[in-house]
Amino acid sequence: MYKEIILDHYKNPRNKGVFPDAEVSAEDYNPVCGDRIRIDIIIADDKVSDVKFDGEGCAISQASASILTEMLIDKSIDEILKLDKDDILEALGTPVLGPARIKCALLSLKVMKLGTYSYIGKAVQPDSAD
């Protein structure tokens, strides 16, 4: 589970920080494990021009947030809303995560979709992180 890419992003998180005035900004919290993730996305011409994440929690949740930020850059809003569970797991290099840990891996995806749907004025789809 603790693949090189996960440990690398956990120990050296990319795009860590906040953009206080970003177009897209959302935060969520998993009370069961205490993982917290905030994602801020600067949108220009309907594309992601820059992104930062902040938060605390387990290695899986923090590494997946860091990896997600790299996946978002330069993508259109439509494209980032199409990202799904399999994309994240593939990027993490662990296609199989047990039911207890998959929520950690997908928290950042959920937060990104929460913020982006809210930005385009639509309610988040209940199963959008699946």
């Binding site: 603790y2 440990l7 120990k11 069961v32 494990c33 205490g34 387990c58 840990r101 950690c104």
Partner: protein, 409 residues
Amino acid sequence: MTSETFLDIKDDFPILSRLINGKEFIYLDSAATTQKPDSVINSITNYYKNYNSNIHRGIYSISIEATEHYENARTNISHFIHAKSPNEIIFTRNATEAINLVANTWATKNLQKGDSIILTEMEHHSNLVPWQIIAKKLGLNLEFIPVNNEGILILDNLDELFSKNGKFLAITHVSNVLGTINPIKEIVDKAHDFGLVTLVDAAQSVPHMPVDVSSLNSDFFVFSGHKMLGPSGIGVLHAKQELLQNMDPFLYGGDMISSVSLRDAQWNDIPWKFEAGTPNIVGAIGLGKAIDYLNHLDMDNVRKHEQNLLSYALKKLNELGDIHVFGPKNPEITGGVLSFSYSDFHPHDIASILDTESIAIRAGHHCAQPLVEKLGVPATTRVSFYVYNDKSDIDKFVHGLEKVRSVLS
């Protein structure tokens, strides 16, 4: 048993000889559920192979045999906790169901708007949520005995808590998160002085130490079979007979009646009045066997063994360093439970990395979210011991923690 000796019984537990990912399985999550010895497993297959039948009504031989085994288990349990009579032992699904039984029968009939239920800040959700619901339904207040930084109950204001409309006390004997053994007799006695009716959640005490309900004098007392080497799906409510006699049934149906007409029914005697429908027959029989096994070990030895393991684990963790233990850190007042944080590593990462070493521990809020919040952390890492653990398990666990550090830093 001297302070240096330990039980040596791993071979009685077939699961502990299993290799997982090629490594010996180390089980350190017995506060969640316990592993089962051969004798308990065999009693289950023996029932299904040789005398599977319904109880209390068959005229034929194996039904009589099943009834005898089921009722003998009840007697066995009543002796184990020193109850005054097997009639005080009600079989339930688990401690949670036993608490719900009391909440839905005794409490709804005897508590009224404005009354207070006294709980503690260290309750498992099972001894918190049912009272929240009953309190909302009936307009009751919930008051809490606070916990200090070391995980010990602060008892200074008991008089005030009990005297201010206090009608009912529901309290855990041993904390499932911190292992703290509460001075339960002292608290129950004081509650009785103020006229409160008491319920003791003994899910983490009955499996681990000698317990005497008659001398404790609690009104209700609950525990789960699966936490004491028995099967899951069987638990116990112990209650004083006069209380049980005056309580309405919890569930209605077969076996809990004495006679039924089209429009009315009379209730069976206690304890059967509270056991509607075909019960978990094999669960009760398996729990009876688990108690035989524990009696054979002797509960004084069980307690001593866990104290020795806890002392050893505290010493080893102290040597490892960068460990913060939540809880009393004193084996005299602590059961075989140890919650801790390790550096700034997240408990889920610790648990996942130990899992790769085939070591099973628990990470999270342990079904006691308010307590873990009070400790100021989102989650803790917990190891808990039982009769089959030994020093080598702790050595491997501490070695696993060294691996956690090397992976994550």
